[in-house]
Symmetry: D2
Subunit: 357 residues, 4 copies
């Protein structure tokens, strides 16, 4: 297996001209693409239609270039490029073939695996069932990637469903109770349960002590590598596992660290420092959130009381700026809403590098 990651700028949610150029020039082979992870310039909240617009556009493009195979691609669009963040698509490809480096496979390379849960019922979202289903799917994705140790998993991207008024009503009619009647809040529950599913799969939390009531409540339980994003466009959870494996080949590899709060740029600094000489940074993936205590480094912040700008939008602007100032590049993936994804107020940050060949 050989995995690669290419970043492509987007002039708007429907601008795939750069992507098309890379396809035409042979840099991206449509039939090898397994996922596109994007940052689109919407508000990243309930009424963000830039995600769907991008997916509709990408689906059309890959149907044209890759036919039915294109239908299998996983699309994870994260809305919100506040501050200096630059809209783009991260195109993830995977081939069965091996590179010339195949002799040196004592070195681990980037390995990516994907999996899906079954469709979840409305009343399962944010509950034990979602945690367990995600945990099982993460296990399958880890195996799909050929990753042998939990330590070699560095980023788990999950796209998970949310509750809509219709789904809540349908649940009520069959006598079931949902975890919350507020659609916006259900995004947090779905992200939180997904992240705890990752934590469970990777041994970061203990099955015996993990309770359903911990979701969006006990912030001491979290995954250091989970990144979840809720969307209205699916009913199952889609999982993309990024890690390193001996069975993988090629110049790409991934590393990660944990930001302890939104201004902990040192976490990314550490990843840059410990990379092999000459390795080039290809992409940064991180989560952002406003510290739920209302304080950061002992000082009051005003994000949670701001009724004009949603706190997730402000947190993305901050974390985007901090990480871009460390790596010098604003075209990075920073997504908001980090329930159980890293410690409260902080979050995971992963970096994909390309070794000098």
């Amino acid at each position: 297996m050989k995995c690669s990651v290419i970043r492509v700028a987007a002039g708007s949610p429907s601008d795939v001209s750069m992507l098309e150029k890379d396809i035409e020039e042979g840099k991206i082979r449509p039939r090898e693409v397994i996922a596109v992870i994007g940052k689109t310039e919407g508000n990243g909240c309930v009424n963000d239609f830039t995600r769907g617009y991008a997916v509709q556009t990408l689906t059309g493009l890959f149907r044209e270039y890759a036919g039915e195979e294109g239908e299998q691609i996983h699309y994870v669009m994260s809305g919100g490029t506040e501050g200096i963040l630059s809209p783009h698509f991260t195109v993830v490809s995977k081939t069965a073939g091996t590179s010339g480096r195949s002799g040196s496979n004592e070195i681990k390379s980037l390995a990516i695996g994907v999996a899906r849960t079954r469709n979840l019922l409305a009343e399962e979202i944010g509950r034990r069932t979602q945690i367990e289903e995600v945990a099982a799917a993460v296990g399958r994705a880890v195996r799909d990637a050929g990753i042998e140790r939990h330590d070699d998993v560095h980023f788990v991207q999950i796209k998970c469903p949310l509750l809509t008024a219709e789904r809540i009503r349908a649940a009520r009619e069959r006598g079931a109770r949902v975890v919350t009647e507020e659609t916006y809040k259900s995004m947090g529950y779905s992200r939180g349960a997904s992240a705890l599913g990752v934590a469970l799969a990777l041994g970061e939390v203990d099955r015996d002590t993990l309770a359903e009531s911990d979701v969006c409540s006990d912030w001491s339980k979290y995954s250091s590598v989970a990144s979840a994003s809720a969307g209205v466009e699916l009913l199952c959870c889609e999982i993309i596992v990024f890690g390193n494996a001996l069975g993988a080949d090629g110049p790409y590899y991934i590393d990660h660290a944990v930001m302890k709060d939104a201004i902990d740029g040192g976490a990314l600094g550490k990843l840059l420092e410990r990379r092999p000489t000459g390795a080039e940074l290809v992409q940064v993936l991180a989560k952002a959130e406003a510290d739920p205590t209302g304080f950061i480094r002992g000082s009051r912040h005003t994000m949670l009381n701001d009724s004009d700008i949603n706190h997730t939008r402000q947190a993305r602007a901050v974390v985007g700026g901090v990480l871009a100032s460390v790596c010098g590049d604003p075209m990075i993936y920073v997504s908001g809403g980090g329930e159980h994804q890293g410690p409260a107020g902080g979050g995971p940050v992963a970096a994909i590098f390309r070794r000098r060949e």
Copy 2:
């Protein structure tokens, strides 16, 4: 002369409880206060009433503690604490007395001077007259501070007027033409002309080549130390000059650098590195703006096209996060709208330190 700077947290625009505590404990002497520079939690734009609310509260407090002398205090409130920025007041004091360190005055210490222009007519705002009036007032403030060399000026804070519908109408009735009929835009012109006034006073631009039409047009002309803030509450320009002088005494001093863009955290890093051993950081003062080209480090940003969140708000969130990640402290002064205040897209950053005594 001895100048000092103390930073006080504010729980809201009208919360002066911490300030009162510092007064009661003798840390702040109301009769020695010459200026209060604050960050309040409004939107920092036209309809931001948190600035006026804070000034009304502070005025009442200092009237109580310092009587008529309190009326002379300069208040500069900058709205907008997006992201991790923490609302606070920076209290600037000045005494004629000298400290025990007076023998060692080969060392320069923090020196602060203030001055005011005459009231400006509506048609003078954003024009040559404002540039020249500010330049002259900066000269007076530099002398008031006892600063001998332009190199020793590190930050010039200006509070300047803006155009309102009423002022525009009055100008029209007397046959005069204002620089713009849009009140929001007049804030930029007033800040820009003020900054060019600073640049002129400090020899950063040449009087002969500086044209009135350069205001908000020729971004190659700027001051590396100017920080201007427009407000509806005054008709003149108020100037506070921060620098170092041999004639000043005490442990405080100031240094500055120029951020080349919004993610240039290295500028502040340099100031921290070159401070004397043991010197403690007391406050950071900086300007933030969205790069007017629409690009940063070659990547497109979306701030200028965002009709939901004003770009000045996003720029403050970014620069606040970047600088706080460098100095580890979110209670810093970052103000938006940087026309001719540092290079386009970047801006000045100053740091006040307290030497170990």
Copy 3:
């Protein structure tokens, strides 16, 4: 008793120049003022400081003009003048004296009464205790107004407390549980329980069938005359009852109707039609809310899914426009957040008239 209502424009939250003019001209007598009900130009949500700014300014003004008596005035500021709503203060005065009309007291005139509950504990907010305390206080205010029949009560304005992070923490520490841990949501619970207290006091709901769990849940229970507004600045509930009484004197009287939804301008139209010939409209008081079903007259609205603009802001813009189009005047009182204040999606609308003398 003689009650009067005068409306005064405000150029900003701190502009009391028109009010001062009315005082200087004798139209308003500061010692007779019992309440000021204002619309200020903030967002009407958590971080709206225009309410406090206006109260601070008004308090200073009335202290100057009325001394200690001025301290007794009830201030109810409602933030949010979206759309065509025009910021203003409604000054409510009351005298013991009688007018020349006193012979004709078979006619009921405007009668206003005030009362306060005791301070509420955090865990009492949104619960049965708040309902009962408000009900009792409404009873006292009705008696204070000398109103003899429930049918003669036409508008009950309540200012009620909300939960803050500090109050929630304190409750937790003494082992008590609050109704919600979200501060924004607590505003709705406090308004809802207050409105049900009014309904209970006026016989609009039955004590036996009213359950604590009905708060923010059973929308079929409501008061047709309650208008509640939550604020951080108080711990008790302040009640102002507006009605008509035989014992009251003077040309003012009040009437009310119920808007069945946000575009039911006909409700106000009915009040205008049935007024006595020549009676002049002095003020309109109404509540606005986005229909919680997400539909209005069978068509989907998008207010509840809008993560850029809070739905309370949009609802005020709509109801303000609708009522102003009916009465031809944009300087009216429209407040947001109508839990149990009129039917779901609708709300009470009251009109104060001045009869021709």
Copy 4:
């Protein structure tokens, strides 16, 4: 010729399920559709991608159902459904065939005509050239509709281009000067010049006294039937003329009035009153704007100073509410930004009716 108008609800910008249902049921015949005019739930400003998303979805649908003929359909999407406005598509169809009513053609029926200008250069936008090109195209569209008198034109919808950074740069490079360097402002200039083009074509302004400098300056010059909407997706102006003609057939007809300000619901009331007995209201089309004087009916409004919510968004919420309260239906077309489209602060309102057959 026979023209018809059908209104279809949309659950999101990409929801064409209702439209598809109407096609499947034969209510809409894809090959007869000449235009779709929609309200989508974006912000209606620069970064509103819901318009493009809807067009992309509609284009795909009609390509499927109508093949190449579908490519000729005019799409006019107007963003912004603030307040009670309900997202929907208005589908406009036209056939050469005649109905059974053809004998009675002393009665005028709805007649629709379309036309396009040539592509405009960046420097022509907001200038005389745009005015003249639009005027000529309106003339062609009026003839296409078979409308014989200017009085029979009741609504002219124009989709016009705007300036982007790229177009401004290209103009500069060929030595041309654009009317404004601000992309947002260029929307107003393009709408304004388009509306004056309509006014010129219909004799509402005089060619001799109309100056280029009147655009966005002399508000006394306007069209009572123009409704312009700027978008990034085209370089020419697309014109759809709605009127009545003897040569047209079928039960539909159109009428219009002028709202003198945002709360002039009486304008629509008049149209409803003077309709023939039994005629059913099919759709309302109107423009909304915040009064540029900052006052409405003598009272100050705060829309123009609001830096949190764009005034076009607030104006739509108001006018939508006012018109829906008059006609009882929230699924109407209200578009923002009314430069030279009706009097300053007001705007045209048209109503399409279906006569009882």
